[in-house]
Amino acid sequence: MAQAVARPPGTARRRAEDRRGGSRGRGSRRLPYLLIAPAGLLMLGFIAYPMLSVFYYSLRHYNVTKPWRDGFAGLDNFTTLLTDDPLFWDSLAFSAKWVVVEVGLQLAFGLALALIVNQTFVGRAFARALVFSPWAVSGVLTTTIWMLLYNPATGVSRYLADAGIGEYGTSVLSDTGTVFWAAVLAELWRGVPFFAILILADLQSVPRDLYEAAAVDGAGRLRQFVHITLPHLRDAIILSTLLRAVWEFNNVDLLYTLTGGGPAGRTTTLPLYVANTGIHGHDFGYASALTTVAFVILLFCSILYLRLSKFGGDNR
């Protein structure tokens, strides 16, 4: 037999309030999801869909000019590129060399320029504007400037030949021994300001009293740089080199317009090879497989770099 249990006064009222509060609570729990939904949908549409589409086509034979060949390929495209495509390995090796040299040199020059324009001197504002100006120039315009400089009829080589240095009709872009460094120089001109801007922004947040204290303790400028400046810049350098490495790996515009990947394929990066295979060769299945492999390489290298560099860790 059930016994009546005495309820404390006000219990029913509290339960009614809880019910109303619960409904408000569920609503407020949904609110954040609703707020991020537009961003989530955009990411699905503009990132997830293209990526999944590439993964899908990488498993297919898909050449728009040969519809009779279309169909499921399994891992055929990957097997071909890994075992029977010297162009893939050549372009990957060139991409690696391009990224290491470009990012290394851009960092070194960017750091040096940031340190210089961080000093106080007459005309500093003008010097800063001058340092940062190449970053405002579009990729195609950068190429045009450098193509004019390298032009055999109107560029630097012509004037050098007039002065008796070198020969007429030559260009650093047509010589397999110089084309790499000629392209590196053009990209360096465009890329250095990126590092200079980021590093300068971080340099300005270093507390001045650290330098004053170090100076009082007898530390010279080099020791101050090594023990104060560099540790402070550590995360900025890691992040900017990673960003720049990804961008340089994916670089298409400058090399495509400056050298077209030549001469004789000497400046063909992996993305240029993808563009040639997909856009000019119409073989979108194979181009998708190349893209997938490039993505995996980038992802692996990025994770490895962040782990080794302990990005975000407090090692100061």
Binding site: S53, Y57, P67, V246, G265, G278
Partner: protein, 441 residues
């Protein structure tokens, strides 16, 4: 900080970085849609496949057309010649094709294979263009489409390979115009003085190099057929020897920078320097006229080879295609008929210095004057030249003649690959492509 943040950062970076790459491989199933005839009025879009250079004359033709057909509005879209094929491919895959577009026979087969173009043979037979299009050009269009006798574009003009030379430099050197290959090589050598920035010839080593190399190769070997049975003749011993001789010009009588020469760079080299000769087609006439003025240059047909025989490879025939996806095919066809008719076709070809497809336009005074002034203009039709028909009908032709072999030809110029290795590899690709194409017929 835990490793979660770096992992997330790396993933985000790679996602962002991969976007540029993924764009290359995005696409749907290539469906072009059925389109419809429409009401014969309204708005149509026209893509010019050589936008920029030809824009003024097209704007004039469009203005005349809109005056004659006030109920039709033509939206003109100029596409740079180097980008046109990728623009078409992108539009075929992703949508957005025009109603009418300029299409040359060099990529016609690709577009037919993708089912993008409407057959136009029936419309020609039933309309005002019946019987007025040059038979040689309609044959080229039929052959290039690769679908039997059906036509997938209306021919508007033909081009021809031309040896442009500087009359002043030849006169100064006491040289006669080079009408034979031997005279050509002799002149190239005599006009070269590297110490004084003077070169006998400029060679095309970059984009578009293969067709030009084949032209010089067949011209010197005298071989007149591209196929010998089931096999191509590109690697015949006479052709190997001819290509070795042609590639040997590089560096000796040409600037070394020529290895990267595309059309623009090559013509700029010729027009801005002291270079004796340039092989291109009729289309660069206006550039040379601007640079040297009347009388400062002249054009010749391809030099004659063994036994006085002149042989050259076929040049693409330009035309207008009607797209299957058009929802206003009636109005689009009216525009094509207008542009290929006597008056407009004559005006366009006179502006572009090319050979009209309209046989009435081909009788105009300016055509006769051009033929008199430039042998290359007349040599296509006067019976003096044997044409080696390039296999534009192979869906692989564009890959073989561009993407696959242009870097290899640069290796030949740089001495990193022999002409025989280059031609053997190309022959293998061509034989395979032909066998595959035949299987699909």
């Amino acid at each position: 900080m835990t490793m979660t943040t770096p992992l997330r950062a790396a993933a985000a970076l790679c996602l962002a970085g991969s976007l540029t790459l993924t764009a290359a491989a995005c696409g749907d199933d290539g469906s072009t849609g059925g389109g419809s005839e429409g009401e014969g009025a309204g708005s149509i879009t026209f893509w010019d496949n050589n936008g920029g250079v030809r824009t003024p004359v097209w704007k004039e033709i469009i203005a005349d057309f809109e005056k004659a057909h006030p109920d039709i509005d033509v939206e003109y879209v100029p596409i740079p010649i180097n980008d046109v094929q990728s623009k078409y491919d992108t539009a075929i895959a992703g949508g957005g094709l025009p109603d009418v577009g300029g299409v040359t026979t060099s990529y016609l087969a690709n577009m037919v294979a993708q089912d993008a173009l409407e057959p136009v043979g029936g419309r020609i037979e039933d309309g005002s263009l019946k019987g007025v299009l040059a038979e040689s050009m309609t044959e080229s269009v039929r052959a290039a489409g690769g679908r039997g006798d059906e036509m997938y574009s209306v021919p508007t003009s033909a081009n021809n390979g031309t040896l442009w030379y500087r009359t002043d430099l030849f006169e100064d050197a006491g040289l006669a115009p080079p009408t034979t290959w031997d005279a050509f090589h002799d002149a190239a050598e005599k006009l070269t003085d590297k110490e004084d920035n003077a070169f006998g010839y400029t060679i095309r080593g970059g984009e578009g190099s293969i067709a030009q190399a084949l032209d010089a190769m067949y011209g010197q070997s005298g071989i007149t057929e591209f196929w010998d049975g089931e096999e191509t003749t590109v690697n015949a011993p006479e052709n190997v020897a001819a290509l070795e001789k042609y590639a040997g010009l590089y560096g000796d009588v040409t600037p070394e920078a020529d290895v990267n020469n595309d059309f623009v760079k090559m013509v700029a080299q010729f027009d801005n320097g002291d270079i004796g000769m340039l092989s291109h087609n009729l289309g660069s006439y206006q550039d040379h006229l601007k640079a040297f003025g009347e009388g400062g240059f002249a054009g010749l047909p391809q030099p004659s080879g063994p036994g006085g025989k002149r042989v050259q490879v076929s040049n693409p025939v330009d035309g207008l295609g009607l797209f299957k996806s058009s929802d206003n095919k009636g109005a689009a066809w009216k525009f094509i008929e207008f542009a290929a008719a006597h008056e407009a076709n004559s005006a366009w070809n006179e502006s572009a210095a090319q050979i009209p497809a309209n046989s009435e336009a081909a009788q105009d005074a300016w055509v006769k004057e051009s033929a008199r002034d430039n042998g290359a203009f007349a040599s296509l039709t006067d019976g003096s030249t044997e044409i080696v028909q390039l296999p534009y009908y192979l869906p692989d032709w564009n890959n073989i003649s561009k993407t696959d072999n242009e870097p290899a030809f640069q290796k030949v110029l740089l001495g990193e690959m022999s002409a025989k290795e280059f031609l053997d590899a190309m022959a293998e690709q061509l034989n395979e492509a032909r066998a595959e194409w035949q299987e699909q017929q």
